[in-house]
Amino acid sequence: MRDPIKLFIIGAIAFIICALFLGKGLTIDNYQFFLSRRIPKVLAIILSAMAIASSSLIFQTVTNNRILTPSILGFDSLYVMIQVLLVAIFGGFSAVVIDSEMNFLLSTSIMTFCSMVLFHFYFKSRQRNIFTLLLIGVVLSSLFNSATGFFTMVIDPDEFTYIQDSMFASFNNINAELVYWCVVPLLLCFAYLIKLANKLDVMWLGIDNATSLGVDTQKLTMHIMFVITLMVSISTALIGPVLFLGLIVVALTRQLFRTYQHQFLLLASALVSIVMLAGGQWMVENLFNFNTTISVIINFLGGGYFLFLLMKHKFD
């Protein structure tokens, strides 16, 4: 099958699943209430799915490998830790925490700074073995998690309720205001990436090749890292950390589509991601009757797949 046809089919599936979410049991009497609850939820799923997929994809492009994703390297645990730190420092009732826009702005800017430092720490020496990097990432993210746990113990239980939502992947208590507020920055990021697609294609050939072909790799990496941080913050703020989703989505996209063009891959991975996330959530609600959560499914499947990847060495 040709790639555009596949893309079309996946797009159709994504559309159907979203329509199912929105339309189930809708009548003329209840549509106002139902839609007001459902639109933010579906929108949150779509936005974060897009953010996770494209950030993982371009992260792999910039770091030139097929197995690292921002969440495996601990970027979204970092975001959660920053959230908890904000509460620990400013208190749960301060504007920084309650006002979602201000919170988002502040935590994203701190996050940008921290992830730049982290990125530098990871990639300052070029010849570092990829498995070492991965192990450091895994340990570092568990370190962030423990720090989060530590600060949650220290802060007031009343204040804790304000951050609880951002700590677990969940679609059932989504902050509608925050969702609408995220639409514009996310779309801007996405458009910017599409615009950079040609450079990213070259980047995928490796830093040295890209440099000799006339791409300012250092500048490009900086810009991309900024976009990645923004996207990680958005997805984590909306639905919480989902460790392996990015990895599965990008690997699946590369498996399904034989192209290397980022313009196409970005779109495709976003659609695949929507299908996975929305489909998974739909399964949780309708097949498992809420008996499990999406993060359990993703961790189980994704963790298994990751082990498989490690064993097979299908990367590098």
Binding site: R128, N129, T132, L143, F300, M311
Partner: protein, 318 residues
Amino acid sequence: MKFTHFFAIAILLALTCASLMVGVADFSLSDIFHADPHALSILTTSRLPRLLAIMLAGAGLSIAGLIMQQIVQNRFAAPSTTGTIDWAMFGYMVALVAFAKMSSWVHLLIIFAFSVFGTILFIHFLQRLKFKSTVMVPLIGIMYGNVVSSMTTFIAYKYDLVQSLNSWTVANFASVLRGNYEFLYIALPVAVLAYFYANKFSAASVGESFAKNIGLNYQRIIMIGVILVALLSSSVVMIVGMIPFLGLIVPNIVSLFIGDNMRRNLPWTAYVGVVLVLSCDILGRLIIFPYEIPISMIISLLGGAVFIYLILRDKSNA
């Protein structure tokens, strides 16, 4: 060496006294000497069991890490990076869901069976893997543990036990009282056994062909090692909870100072484990006094940092 021993004992004694004295209920040393019944009862039902539990768990997990290093032939192998702990937790969950009414001996047996099974599975995994870089083993092991613990969460979610699961996983010595920690004494015979087998484990750590060459039954030694590790880890998981990275960092710290002779390292590993857990526990009790911070948080902060330092220090995979 004499001075080192003296110094080590002095530190341990100081920490022991501190651990006995720190707590919400206040009593002084003179109360104990005057046999004040209140002070004595606090001492014997709460403080002393807690101290013993800390010592047994700290020494036990560290020794488990040391054995694991030898049988997996990897410096970064430990019960927490080979899935043993996660399987033990899984077993605990199964035991509590399916055999809730049975005695705790049955629970311990189930946990033990699960952790032996999980560890052996992992070791077979590794033996079939051709290319083994130092960091691959903990990496695969941690991922493997994640997959197993997602199964645990799945069951917990199904039976509405997520909250209890959290309280079981987070290691905490606060709930240790006389009568509920005694399973930890398993660590004593296991430590003695480990000491006797130390040389065989060392031989096995050189490699399968070498061990066979000098006339050892390689598979049996691995099996014995797994059983010892599983015994230590399952008793700690059941009574205390998960103490991440402890089994990993302690043997590494010890070998930084006194080399790699397992028989000589074993007592020191146990000692450093005890001192580390004891000081972290005291710290956890002091930070938000009169409340407590679970020890697993402090240890995992410290342990994670030390682990990263160890990885970066290991020039072979730079």
